[in-house]
Subunit: 387 residues, 2 copies
Amino acid sequence: VINAEKSEFNEDQATCCQISIRRRELGLEEDKEWLILCSTQFLTGYYWALFDGHGGPSAAVIASNYLHYCIKQKLEEVAGAITEARPPMHVSGRCVCDSDPQFVEEKHIRVEDMVVGALENAFQECDEVIGQEMEATGQTGGCTALAALYLQGKLYVANAGDSRAILVLKDTIVPMSCEFTPETERQRLQHLAFLFPKLLDGEFTRFEFPRRLKGDDVGQKVLYRDYFMEGWGYKLVEKADLKYPLVHGHGKQARLLGTLAVSRGLGDHQLKVIDTNIEVKPFLSCIPKVNIFDFALHDIKENDVLIMATDGLWDILCNKEVAHMARSFLAENKTDPHRFSELAKCLVRRARGKKMGHQWMLDDSREASYDDISVFVVPLHNRDEDC
Amino acid sequence: VINAEKSEFNEDQATCCQISIRRRELGLEEDKEWLILCSTQFLTGYYWALFDGHGGPSAAVIASNYLHYCIKQKLEEVAGAITEARPPMHVSGRCVCDSDPQFVEEKHIRVEDMVVGALENAFQECDEVIGQEMEATGQTGGCTALAALYLQGKLYVANAGDSRAILVLKDTIVPMSCEFTPETERQRLQHLAFLFPKLLDGEFTRFEFPRRLKGDDVGQKVLYRDYFMEGWGYKLVEKADLKYPLVHGHGKQARLLGTLAVSRGLGDHQLKVIDTNIEVKPFLSCIPKVNIFDFALHDIKENDVLIMATDGLWDILCNKEVAHMARSFLAENKTDPHRFSELAKCLVRRARGKKMGHQWMLDDSREASYDDISVFVVPLHNRDEDC
């Protein structure tokens, strides 16, 4: 993990650690022998996470210190279930109803669904803790969160924000996350504004138009979309449509309430639209989308890697370019024991560009991004020996 | 299209017609010559639709008579845009801002997005009309809606409910719709109940459990999911959790508020949960998901067909079985000019089974469904000559 050192206060944060999961004691009524067995039973997970802060590094710092603890806690709450072939209806394993195992099977509830649920709940709890902590200490800001967990032969990638994780395998690239931005979540955001118009306090319009409307557009029919539309229609422009749009701009310029470039993440509990009383938090979601990769279904090769990076990398390099660089770099440096971290550095350097006077320029003389850049490169081979 | 004639009052309805789209006049300030040109300019669409009614056939009957009219109207509102290479910012084609074409291009707005928007708006308008009509005449009930539109070399399939459309091509099956049921839309339904708990009036719980909870479960931790979870977790059971779940049951037995088996469709404006004041309509969506098939990208063969059917067919036969029957039937009856409607009859007969005493039985001696069954088989070859 390397930071490009472009900003004075680096807002990217990263964590990498083992997570030891202990089966919790189940209460006093259990017989003692079983209790002892339980308290010595461990599962080990491996965890990597990136946090891209905004409005200061505080939220990213708290999240980088706390999210893995929340995940550990939530996994321990379901530890009894994830060591079984099929999660039991009752966490205690007791059967109140004879056909409970059948109900669980009918719903297709698998061990990995418990891990996904634990990750979803952990993000939510971490967000609450950040809110309390920041309020108590008078800090502000928020961050995206991208977390990878290797557990029991599966890789779980949980994402809330615009960082990205991909697997670069010998012959394919497997995307392990998708980005949550005001553009990708337009319908969710517009729907919320439709359900609770007061959230916009008369200052914004929930409709999407291809550009900001002007006085001359009033009385004309222009292209628009509402919350329920994937397609486009024409709307007769009224004066209220001249307000600033809830979601505005395109690509990297897209903003929620003219304020934020992401629609999911942690923190931002105090964030208000500048010069207004409009809160941004009700529109933000802290819930990650979790993708699973099952190693048992794939033949993992020596140079196969997981690459996680904040948007600073992906703004400059696409998946294919990153995969190409990874494959050729790892093939050329087969014997270097540090080749994975060297590859991470190499990716950061490429996206950072070179300083020419006051500007950072890319090799192809495009202007480089001024964003922080962080990259993890995680080897996937020999997992159980090397991890 | 054939109905299995199992129910006394057939609740399935079907429509098939041409839709002539006329470019609307744009107001008095246009010069006369141009106006005349416009009023003679036509586009022709071809339309097939299935409606599966519940609580009586009324909503299905109104929808089958009215939805194509709404679609025609909405398409005419955008007729100026769908005959251009790229829809203009203003429906009049006038340019208030010089870079308007660039804004439209940046948003990737294409002609097909205008058709999708028109279909989405048409479903919504049709739903409003059904609501007014049924209130005025004291009728009740609702229906699913599956509509296919062939226009300008593309097939649009709009679906709200649990009917299904597939393309059976020579070598592949292309699903053209997905089903909207209380199970597939669980998270949307639970989220609404979370945002507006009053909608449940204290009678239902929004949480999902693998089975209905009992008094013995109180104080225990059992498997559950909330609106934000794709995974599962354990929840300490409180007394309130013993209430009937918002979404309950599995597969064909899944019900929304113990009442409805679908979560999207038209009508049901008056529907209340039996013996309560709880309205079902706030949970229902009338917005279709639209899928597009572009014929220019495929080499369509002589026996390639679109198959649309209500759930009565798909409960008994899967996509593969239907495709297999279609391919072998059409290959065996190459010269029969009625082979497509004969195939529809054949599919209905297979799903209907045979009457043995009081029971309808399938060939493999499973019990057949008692649901209405309707099927369209639409040939895709020689579209422009034969349509």
